[in-house]
């Protein structure tokens, strides 16, 4: 064996992978060659870890500089295990050789567990009672009623024929008002303007006075008594109708609030038919010549 073939086998010699006969040849050459003996001595030296770190720092200092700044940009994601594999390995290698960055990473890791402990603080034992006193109770009842009324109104408005039905109800309301208050609503309506109400009152007073005078002229005391009697009877009949309409109107309202469209529709139809019938009856009789006994 010569020096060249010995040096070709140095790596295998260091790793202990030489075959037995090759090992004997190497040993024989080393015994005879001082230069190759020095190579073997170097292979057997233990290199201290600190030495490599100092070497790394020295090299970085003379080349790219310390990598801490770049490592800090990755530290949070590294702690969160959100880095790509290669980036993670690079950061891990840096942390292994940098005490400051390693401590910073440890602090970040600890903070990720400690910070959520600050999410909730206890205000006071009576805090909930104070909030409830200012929110629920009367406010809750009115809130429920408001919600109930809103749902009822929205349910009515969602009906397909609500415009027709609203028109019927409106006409019925106007007819009822006309029936209750009688003549004044058949008088000339006041003209718009600031003095319209005063003009209306004067007209109303004049109409009542004229009606009273005319009645006395025509019927006298007997006629007045009969008129009073007729008015009482008429009021009783009106009240009876009112009761019926009130009952049916009440059924309508109840059905609406129950959101029972079937019952509500039936009640409304009944009411509008009665209203239409009564209107036609009045139109046929003619209200100007109506018999006070009716």
């Amino acid at each position: 064996m010569n020096c060249r073939s010995f040096q070709d086998r140095l790596a295998e010699l260091h790793e202990g992978k030489l075959a037995a006969d090759e090992r004997r040849a190497v040993d024989a050459h080393v015994a005879a060659c001082s230069g190759c003996r020095e190579f073997v001595a170097l292979l057997r030296l233990d290199v201290p870890a600190a030495g490599t770190v100092d070497l790394t720092s020295a090299v970085l200092e003379r080349t790219s500089g310390a990598a801490c700044v770049q490592a800090h940009e990755f530290l949070c994601d590294h702690v969160d295990r959100a880095l790509e594999r290669l980036d993670g390995e690079l950061v891990t290698l840096h942390l292994a050789g940098c005490r400051d960055c390693s401590a910073l990473a440890a602090a970040l890791l600890r903070l990720s567990g400690d910070l959520p402990l600050l999410a909730e603080l206890s205000p006071a034992e009576d805090f909930v009672a104070g909030v409830l006193a200012r929110t629920t109770g009367r406010a809750s009842r009115s809130r429920r009623l408001a919600g109930w009324a809103e749902r009822a109104v929205l349910g009515l408005l969602a009906r397909p024929r609500i415009a027709w039905e609203a028109g019927y109800v409106g006409a019925m309301a106007i007819w009822l008002a006309a029936s209750v208050f009688g003549a004044p609503f058949h008088a000339e309506l006041p003209l718009p303007g600031a003095e319209a109400p005063a003009r209306y009152v004067r007209h109303l007073r004049g109409s009542v006075e004229a009606a009273g005078s005319r009645t006395w002229e025509v019927a006298g005391e007997a006629g007045l008594a009969a008129m009073k009697s007729g008015l009482r009877a008429g009021c009783r009949r009106t009240a009876a109708v009112f009761d019926e309409i009130g009952r049916e109107g009440g059924e309508l309202a109840q059905a609406a609030f129950r959101f029972d469209t079937g019952d509500a529709s039936d009640a409304l139809e009944e009411l509008t038919q009665r209203a239409r019938g009564a209107w036609e009856q009045r139109a046929a009789k003619g209200h100007e010549n109506r018999d006070p006994n009716d």
């Binding site: 949070c76 994601d77 910073l104 903070l111 402990l117 603080l121 909030v131 809130r143 919600g147």
Partner: protein, 187 residues
């Protein structure tokens, strides 16, 4: 925190029992947010109550989004409004006595619970030393657990900005904690 959506729906329907349950479930968070901004236990309690009143009155208009970010947004806006009226930065303060959450108190042993409480107070002191924007980011993301999208919407800043500022905030806090206790993280 388990899903609050079913409880919130009941509250919207006027269920008083659900409202009480909701108040009990989130009172700690609302108070913690108020205390973070105001740094005063009494004022924070008062503000927390006001926030709940607002929540109660606004339940009709709440729909579609996640409840917790909406709640925290209400709390944050209320706190900032109050700070603007006061026109003075609140003084730093310690955590209120006895204000520890059940999580911190539920350690495996008394020693560990005590150690966790000590670390909690240390972190709170470090938080007080941070810059306000970074402290708010830590509070919203790391403490209250809002995701980056919710924070970006709340603060009206781009998502990328929130992420990079969030990382810088965490590093700042870690350094502040280590200034107070160099062994933090190693124990």
């Amino acid at each position: 925190m388990t899903d609050l959506a079913p409880i919130v729906e009941r509250c919207r329907a006027g269920d008083a029992l659900a409202w009480e349950a909701l108040v009990r479930r989130v009172q700690g968070r609302v108070y913690a947010v108020a205390f973070h901004y105001l740094c005063d236990a009494e004022e924070a309690r008062d503000l927390a109550q006001e926030v709940f009143i607002k929540v109660y009155r606004s339940l009709d208009t709440f729909s579609g989004e996640s409840f917790l970010p909406w709640l925290l947004r209400l709390g944050r806006n209320a706190a900032i409004d109050r700070l603007r009226r006061k026109k003075a930065r609140p003084q730093t303060t310690e955590l209120p006595a006895g204000a520890g959450s059940e999580i911190a108190a539920a350690g495996p042993s008394p020693e560990e619970s005590w150690a966790a409480e000590a670390r909690r107070r240390l972190v709170h002191r470090a938080l007080q030393r941070m810059s306000e924007p970074n402290r708010e980011l830590i509070m919203l993301k790391e403490i209250q657990g809002l995701d980056l999208e919710a924070i970006a919407s709340l603060l009206d800043v781009p998502l990328g900005t929130v992420k990079s500022r969030s990382n810088r905030a965490r590093l700042e806090l870690a350094r502040k904690v280590m200034e107070l206790d160099p062994s933090y993280g190693s124990t």
